[in-house]
């Protein structure tokens, strides 16, 4: 399994992976057979460094055609986060291309051509902004050089502007299309000169998504939408308990349903992204297949995870963090700090499993033939499809062709390709292309869940209300358990966000409590930042009250106490977003009775987000009125896209802090659909205002960082409004 890849993308070190600073890029250029210019380049993870060669099989991120149309391939997977707009816009900007002449196409899965396409960890912009800009800048320089040749003048006398090269001396213009084929023949610039910030045309502006028109007319193709001649439709029921297996199957009734042709057993494929095992029905259409699945008479042998009951398990996690656990990291002398404390404060926080529940359930089409295998799938990681199917079919991963379809939401779920493996298993047996769409119920019950968790923090304050010591215990089944099922608790590096939190705490110890996994754990939008953000953000508010300070002042003090020079930037940027959110929210002003504003800051995935949540509380009724959200993600590529990501993060943050929780009983998931896994609906949507820090820093991602600070800010707001402190999320679980 490609654990290195995942460590690089998401890592079990949670939200703050180390940067790879290798900036060397290789451009490759070719003229296209049809005329025009094609530019490709290498990105980290590609097989071979590119060279200059007319006959190379191009990865071709940019195709400039002779009519001026410009095609840019988006190598990362689109799932609503807007990456297929943001990165091509960076190319177009440096290239001085006219955005209205740019068409963006999703690249197929091909690591050799497009480098690492696995899309997660809010990493796309962080890792690809620079190379994309360089390619665009190189294209522009070559077009300028080509024009200079035509005019027989020096390149210094020419400049590019909005799809034209202009001759400064006589104001003559040549269009990009006219120049394309000529440009392909000029030498490739070694060090493309990048624009300065004031020269940006698209970067940092509010940019229209390139494909909205297709969405509003129902023409955008998702994983569920693929149709092939001769394609069959399948539905599936999975083994309800992870690690269990089929005991008996009576398929008679299912086979009698008109239109049903096959019932196929799919045994568990014991690799991290393989099927848990199930039984599939193949029919003329999805509906018939779904109906026939219900007619299967199946008995499962549950296996050892039948002991899993989340209610008791959570209590056990709480017990495990309220007593000494295994030390992960330590600095200073926590015991001494505690002994000398003026005040000691402690609290325990919990959170439940979450299901990603994207609106598009898991779906793909696979066609396995004797000499080929082609996949059409909503996915975040075509590379993992190639590896998993390659392993399953005993073929070279390169021989698995993956068409990356737009995902109807993913949030981390579609990084795992168990559903694609199942379609492959079916297609292989029926010898036809097959579309497998999971029902919502199967999607919810067969997940890679966000970890259930408990945290216990004890801290000491001195007489001035400064934090002197911090003991932080956490227990949660970790993502590492997916790759190493024998783990009985989260590994030390999964606790890195405690040790590396930008709060300045001289004496600190982190401990990992026992928490063996009984189900599959996976990355969920914001990952561990969800619970770390919740505990740090809520506990800071509790400490502020004990210290008799307002929370904003308390936070500033605890950031200022950080004397580690390596974290100076984190401290400064955390404080800046805090100040911005505080200012816009008006925290501290007098509010009507029953209203309150809470604030929290969290640094994750190298971005910084502060949220101030304004609530109105009346008994059990919690109404979120406003959310002021301040972000620092370095240079922003698309301000509208960044704003949309924050609006979405608030909605997801609100769903998980108020409502969503996956429960297990006797090893099986209890929830089944949106009635018992209630996500936020429009009537509860607060007014979200997004404030972006103007920054020249390296751009960082925003898909995830906005989720973390919502829950603590909400909990703090409810406390401010009503005096009730919520330490367990979701606050209003359905099946309490």
């Amino acid at each position: 399994m490609n654990r290195h890849l995942h460590a690089a993308i998401h890592g079990d070190t949670a939200a703050n992976p180390i940067e790879n600073t290798n900036r060397r890029q290789f451009l490759k250029i070719a003229s296209m057979a049809s005329g025009g210019l094609a530019i490709g380049f290498t990105l980290p993870g590609m097989a071979s460094p590119a060279s200059q060669d007319d006959n190379i099989s191009l990865n071709a991120f940019i195709h400039l055609q002779e009519n001026g149309d410009t095609l840019i391939y988006s190598s990362r997977c689109e799932m609503g986060q807007g990456i297929s707009t943001a990165l091509p816009a960076a190319i177009a900007d440096e290239m001085e291309a006219d955005w209205s002449r740019v068409h963006v196409e999703q690249a197929g899965g091909d690591k050799d051509k497009y480098g690492d396409q696995a899309t997660g960890g809010s990493a796309s912009i962080r890792t690809q902004f620079e190379p994309m800009r360089q390619a665009g800048a190189a294209a522009k320089m070559m077009l300028v050089a080509a024009a200079a040749k035509v005019w027989n003048t020096s390149v210094d006398n020419c400049y590019a502007e909005n799809h034209f090269v202009i001759n400064k001396l006589n104001k003559q213009k040549l269009g990009y299309g006219e120049l394309a084929s000529l440009a392909a023949k000029v030498p490739v610039p070694k060090d493309p000169v990048l624009k300065t910030k004031d020269q940006y045309r698209y970067i940092g502006k509010a940019l229209d998504r390139h494909d909205v028109g297709l969405v509003t007319t129902g023409q955008r193709m998702y994983g569920v939408d693929t149709k092939l001649p001769g394609m069959r439709y399948a539905a599936i029921v999975h083994c309800p308990v992870f690690g269990g297996k089929l005991k008996s199957l009576d398929k008679t009734a299912a086979m009698q349903v008109k239109g049903v042709t096959d019932v196929i057993e799919i045994p568990r494929l014991d690799v991290p992204y393989g099927s848990v095992g199930g039984v599939a029905v193949v029919a003329d259409n999805s509906w018939t297949a779904q109906q026939a699945v219900k007619k299967l008479v199946v008995e499962w042998e549950a296996g050892p995870n039948a002991v899993y009951n989340t209610k008791e398990y959570k209590q056990q996690l709480v017990a495990n963090v309220e007593k000494p656990a295994k030390k992960a990291a330590e600095r200073g002398d926590v015991e001494k700090a505690f002994a000398e404390a003026t005040h000691k404060v402690s609290a325990t926080y919990t959170g439940g499993h979450l299901s990603h529940a994207p609106m598009e359930p898991n779906a793909s089409v696979v066609w396995v033939q004797d000499d080929s295998c082609e996949v059409w799938a909503s996915t975040q990681s075509p590379d993992d499809i190639q590896k998993t199917l390659g392993g399953y079919l005993k073929r070279d991963p390169k021989d698995i062709k993956v068409n990356v379809m737009i995902s109807g939401g993913a949030f981390g779920r579609k990084f795992k390709c168990d559903y694609v493996h199942e379609a492959a298993a079916i297609s292989q047996q029926i010898k036809a292309p097959v579309q497998l769409i999971w029902s919502r119920e199967e999607d919810m019950r067969t997940g890679y869940y966000h970890s259930i968790n408990a945290q216990h923090i004890e801290a000491s304050l001195d007489k001035d209300g400064n934090v002197t010591g911090w003991l932080h215990r956490i227990a949660f089944p970790s993502i590492s358990s997916l790759f190493n099922p024998s783990l009985d608790r989260a590994p030390d590096n999964a606790l890195g966000d405690i040790e590396n939190h930008p709060f300045g705490i001289a004496n600190l110890r982190s401990e990992s409590g026992e928490a063996p996994a009984h189900t599959r754990i996976g990355w969920y939008r914001a990952v561990y930042a969800i619970f770390y953000g919740f505990a740090f953000g809520t506990f800071a508010d509790e400490l502020a009250h004990k210290a008799g300070k307002d929370t904003v002042k308390f936070l500033n003090d605890v950031y200022d106490a950080n004397t580690n020079p390596e974290q100076a930037d984190q401290v400064m940027r955390s404080k800046a977003v805090l100040a911005l959110a505080a200012k816009h929210s008006g925290i501290g002003k007098k509010l009507p009775k029953g209203e309150g504003i809470g604030i929290a800051v969290h640094h994750s995935f190298q971005s910084y987000v502060a949220m101030a949540v304004h609530v109105k509380v009346d008994g059990d009724d919690i109404k979120v009125l406003n959310v002021d959200c301040a972000i620092d993600c370095g240079q922003v590529l698309n301000t509208d896209g960044a704003t949309a990501q924050m609006e979405g993060a608030v909605v997801m943050g609100m769903s998980l802090s108020l409502y969503t929780e996956i429960s297990f009983k006797d090893g099986a998931v209890v929830n089944s659909n949106f009635h018992d896994y209630p996500v936020l609906r429009i009537n509860e949507m607060p007014n979200v205002r997004v404030h972006i820090v103007d920054s020249d820093a390296k751009p960082t991602g925003l898909g995830e960082p906005g989720v973390a600070p919502f829950a603590p800010a909400l909990s703090n707001a409810i406390f401010a409004a009503s005096g009730t402190r919520y330490r367990d999320i979701p606050i209003k679980p359905l099946s309490a």
Partner: protein, 155 residues
């Protein structure tokens, strides 16, 4: 009763089992994939289409119940994708993943057909059945209002 159904102004024979929901007749039989499957139980609104102008959930509407009726899907809402709602959706960059949006737009179109200047509460009440997991609700509200405003200008 006629065993045909009109979809986007064209008549189609109903040649599937009576109890097949309209959603799957559209998606699998006619291959109109703009209408989406989200929950199959009338809980999410992804499958919203119009029956004689009113929003219905296609996933729980047996094909037999739409015989003789006129159905409009997202593909047929307007000739050129220029219904005021579609325009407002583009102007406000509403979609993120976009998967729920056909249902959102169809539901909103049904609302505007009966209420030309919906209040916030009207929008909340009418649109509550349509989930957007990406969280585009704020923009949906804004877009519905701006479309209502444009429609008011037209009449």
């Amino acid at each position: 009763m006629a065993n045909t159904v009109v979809i986007n102004s064209k008549e189609y024979a109903i040649d599937v089992a009576d109890d097949m929901p309209l959603l799957w007749f559209l998606r699998d039989r006619l291959e109109f994939t703009g209408t989406k499957f989200g929950c199959g139980s009338g809980l999410c609104g992804a499958c919203t289409v119009h029956m004689d102008g009113t929003a219905i959930r296609a996933c729980v509407m047996p094909i037999s119940a739409v015989a003789g009726k006129s159905i409009t899907t997202i593909e047929g809402l307007s000739e050129n994708g220029d219904h005021p709602l579609q325009k407002a959706w583009v102007e406000n960059n509403v979609p993120q993943c976009g998967y729920c949006q056909a249902g959102q737009i169809m539901n909103a179109a049904s609302l505007l057909a009966t209420n030309t200047s919906p209040s916030d509460d009207d929008i909340d009440a009418a649109m509550q059945g349509n989930i957007c997991r990406c969280g585009t609700y704020q923009r949906i509200k804004k877009a519905i209002k701006s479309a209502a405003f444009e429609l008011a200008k037209e009449v």
